[in-house]
Symmetry: C2
Subunit: 231 residues, 2 copies
DNA sequence: CGCGAGCTTGACGTTGTTCAACTAGAGTGG
DNA sequence: CCACTCTAGTTGAACAACGTCAAGCTCGCG
């Protein structure tokens, strides 16, 4: 139960990605020489589901969402803050297309690392490969956790969850300026815009949060946690 | 759209795991000498969420489910047929406990490979590590696909999906003996037992499937596919 | 023969969606 | 400086999908 209580739906832990520290001078240079840094503005598609995966992505600045688009609309798999690798799943040899899209929530800087170079380094440096495995797994576990939340919690729980995650893992403050629209919040917590609004209103009425313009302040974090766990 | 149409909720592709072919004689022996094969009977827990991950699992025979248990009940992440590796996600260093449970659907034989030996081989053999990355990714992508289905399709679509998956990927026949109870089917397609029954009845009435005892025969696979995609 | 697990059915309630209307603020051009 | 429009936000009422509950059924097994 204590274990289960930690199931959350947001993003991977706080730490920046450290795997590049394991490269030899030569390998680091090889990667350096085969990457470009590109800026994306709010709302832009960084990579598109179904296109050939030619690069691995490293987000140096910004905030992005990773999502699957299908006939029934879009599902956000996870959101990723800066200093994290993104499309590692693209390493999958079998079908070398991106299995998802990545879109910028805010202006973002992304390093595109040539995928064949990345693969080469992996197959030369087992310690690095091992770190990459860990990173992939951490991401997968996080997404499974989100899977659990979206499919098993009801909407109050899901929304509470997202608010907590934004506060704890993205902004790292109890009071933060919400950069997302209601619609984006809705997509994140897997419900309609109208519902998000109604629930935020309820949260305000119950004195769980305070809202001024775009700023959200968490007033009763314990209760919010309870709602996230059992609602 | 053609891409999206392939989103399904079941299990990873048809092929058996081939990664062990990449080992040197010595490495293969090292693994051989550090594994035990254990039989589990129907319903038994093969590994338990939250316990220390001491082994990587290889399913030689049987059918298992991988699931997360939490305050809101159990979520099946995926089901795995024989000749596949299972708990690769347990390689994740950060918290070396199983992030999920694995339970046998039917009598199953499992090889338990010592995790430190497995890790050792990975860090010595980069090609092998690379194959492991591919396997992990293939599994993750499959689970993401299931995530999409469970959270975005309505129940008719989900059930159609599961029936198709069982037929195509597990039993590999259009007519098969269903080894699962209604309750298990319900858990798999993310709804209640009662609903599964009602929907199976509807499918029968609409001449999509035929049922005799535990045997299911698919009669109109095209329509079933359509329901899976757009329902 | 009777017990129990799994299966089936119907009535009803809840959650969350859909739709339609209305408001507020930001940007634009006359 | 004021209409004008556009988008985001908000609200309420009607509705559908699905879960819950309660009851009865069936079939295998001791």
């Amino acid at each position: 139960m204590t274990k289960a209580a930690r199931i959350n739906s947001c993003t991977v832990g706080l730490d920046r990605c450290t795997c590049f520290d394991l490269l030899t001078q030569e390998q680091a240079e090889l990667i350096e020489n085969n990457l470009v840094e590109v800026e994306f503005s709010k709302g832009e598609t960084i990579c598109k589901q179904g296109t050939f995966a030619t690069h691995v992505l490293y987000l140096t600045e910004g905030l992005v969402k990773v999502h699957i688009d299908g006939p029934q609309g879009s599902l956000i798999l996870k959101i990723i803050p800066e200093e994290h690798l993104i499309a590692l799943t693209a390493l999958f040899e079998g079908n070398s297309v991106f299995p998802f899209s990545v879109t910028a929530y805010v202006g973002s800087k992304v390093r595109l690392i040539d995928i064949s170079v990345f693969k080469k380094v992996i197959s030369e440096n087992a310690k690095f490969a091992y770190e990459i495995i860990n990173t992939i797994n951490a991401n997968a576990i996080q997404t499974f956790s989100r899977f659990y939340c979206l499919s098993h919690k009801q909407s109050y729980g899901r929304l509470a969850d997202i608010i907590l995650c934004l506060s704890e893992r993205i902004y790292k403050q109890q009071k933060f300026e919400l950069l997302l629209t209601r619609k984006e919040l809705a997509e994140l917590s897997g419900m309609t815009t109208e519902n998000v609004i109604r629930m935020l209103k309820k949260f305000r009425e119950d004195n769980l949060i305070e809202m001024k313009g775009k700023t959200i302040k968490i007033k009763n974090i314990e209760l919010l946690r309870k709602i996230s766990n059992y609602g």
